[in-house]
Symmetry: C2
Subunit: 359 residues, 2 copies
């Protein structure tokens, strides 16, 4: 069976080499006589896996020693609550509303405190990153929240806002490990695994040590960062297999040359696709040029009918999951780390052909 | 590589047939051209998997129509908070303290309301199920909580307590699907997957419809049962691969003849091991006979030194993870659904040999 090119926004394509390694080791991992899925999370053999995963991520992202790496369940959506529940001391936070998930994060945080939306791009269907005016910042905010990459509308922050000592928290689900980030710019980075890390069911949280303190006693134990810090993410059974898959992914990325190397490849892929879009007479990108995402490329033909036809015919040609998010329509090609340039080239070839056939 | 007999209490052994099927399908699932891990959770191909999983579980446990089946992350430990956060309306609940996890559930519930511990077996290291005196029940309780099977100390409730209309909630993590239960006896059944269902990172919640109501607005969206009910467990990305593995496990169990059939096999396994213990001159079971677990068999030699020696030598013979929980010592053989009678026989053979050699 031939593999398709999978442009799904998440869960999304994983590197073939990672899948093949996992397949080989699935029934018996190394000389242990059992599957990773069957290992006690407290066994020596499993501890090696989770510790390696953390070590590799620290290396790949140059995570400073005063940051903790936590393995948590519940996806980024659980972080939408955990961030305010743990960080709100004064009960105030600043948010940038740059997309659907940013909006959900804001909605959720409002349960727990006073939220100041510093800037929003909702007026133009989130097709740009809003201008940020620091005079609108709340100096008393417990934290400042952004969504680094906007999966649905295909935009991204190129540089994080300067928050003058207020801890910057970011949802980095759809761009973590895709380009170099300076971890020290952030108080918390969190990311659901199912885009650039591994299978769904794991969320990585990178948190500056001094922020893990003073969480009120009425916060559920599983929502308190301290529970994870104090127990090396093993207060209860972590998602052991997901962490193993993440480890394989980190190894793959390291072998490839690390984040600097993948960033170069990602730039090539995105440039290739955007260049085509900018010169096409049928297709056009929907995000403002200077804010374009490197991971999620959104585009339309201008006709809903043609969009539908395109998605259907692409699927038949082994180019899958190109339909835009149900809230926005059009097309979206998610070209995460695991998508090879050959997939992007195949997509562009197909788009050229489609353009010729549908003049 | 030969597989070992894995007596781990969780994550624990999975059926070899399930692992082999997963291995075969890992890189490409059927004719989809992708791994299950790479599928969008909203794709038709994945919806089939999650819907089949639910259908199979409903069939296996004869779950009535007025119960919802939810797929949640965070393990049973997250349920320790979700149950009180969702069910407490008057702020009161009754709990039975029959083991370490029951104790944790109580500890956690105390953050959210007034907890009445109706009975406890902590006085004798949780080696029995306490007598339950219904005059101690709080008639105003929002719910009544038990832990059906005690993984650490090896005891179990043979019949659930009669709670006179107060919803009975149970942590069934280590005995779900091991014997027939009448779902209608319970308001909520929850179970971490990593013992009798599939890999860690998935928790199954079976909840009576009328209990999904009136959760206060300050409860995090991911901790509100209604979020899962209203979105078919897809408010955000569920642990897709874990659910797929669970589905394979349910299929395996159905092929085997369902819960009635596995119960018979489990009874045989447990009887075989307990019979040996009752006749041994070296080993003895630690749980009171009438409350013995069918899943977790706890035993000691009476000498810590011999216990250590036993565990070490057993490991060398391919009988792994027999060490008792760190809080109690001794030995524990977890013989969940996936443990074949051949494993139990191999263990008993080894115990006989050890007994002869260490008279």
């Amino acid at each position: 069976m031939e593999r398709v090119y999978n442009f799904s926004p998440g869960p999304s394509a994983l590197p073939l080499a990672v899948l093949e390694k996992a397949q080989k080791e699935l029934v018996c991992y190394k000389n242990t006589g059992m599957s990773v899925m069957e290992m006690s999370h407290r066994s020596k053999m499993y501890l090696e896996i989770i510790q390696d995963a953390e070590k590799l991520l620290r290396e790949l992202m140059s995570i400073p020693n005063n940051y903790k790496v936590l393995f948590i369940q519940g996806g980024a959506s659980l972080q939408f609550s955990m961030v305010p529940l743990n960080l709100m001391k004064k009960g105030k936070a600043d948010y940038i509303c740059s997309g659907e998930f940013a909006k959900k994060a804001i909605q959720e945080a409002k349960r727990f405190g006073e939220i100041n939306v510093v800037a929003s791009s909702e007026d133009k269907v989130f097709s740009y990153i809003p201008e940020i005016d620091s005079s609108k910042f709340n100096k008393d905010a417990d934290y400042f929240h952004i969504t680094t990459n906007n999966t649905i509308y295909g935009t991204r922050f190129r540089t994080p806002p300067q928050t003058n000592g207020v801890p910057l928290v970011t949802d980095m689900s759809s761009s973590i490990l895709s380009e170099e980030y300076n971890v020290s710019d952030y108080g918390i980075i969190y990311a659901g695994a199912q885009k650039n890390i591994g299978p769904a069911g794991l969320c990585i949280v990178i948190i500056r040590e001094d922020l893990v303190t003073g969480t009120p006693n009425n916060v559920p134990v599983m929502m308190n960062y301290k529970t994870y810090v104090d127990n090396d993410s093993m207060y209860n059974t972590p998602p052991t297999y997901g962490i193993y898959m993440a480890k394989l992914g980190f190894e793959w990325l390291k072998d490839l040359g690390g984040v600097k190397a993948i960033q170069k490849l990602n730039e090539e892929k995105a440039d290739y696709l955007y260049d085509f879009l900018d010169n096409s007479k049928l297709f056009r990108g929907t995000a403002v040029k200077e804010d374009r995402s490197m991971m999620n490329v959104t585009f339309v033909t201008g006709s809903e009918e043609l969009d539908d036809k395109f998605v259907k015919e692409a699927t038949k040609s082994g180019l899958e999951n190109l339909k835009g998010h149900r809230s926005v329509g059009g097309m979206r090609a998610s070209i995460y780390n695991a998508m090879d340039i050959s997939g992007v080239k195949a997509l562009v070839e197909f788009m050229k052909k489609f353009e010729t056939e549908n003049k």
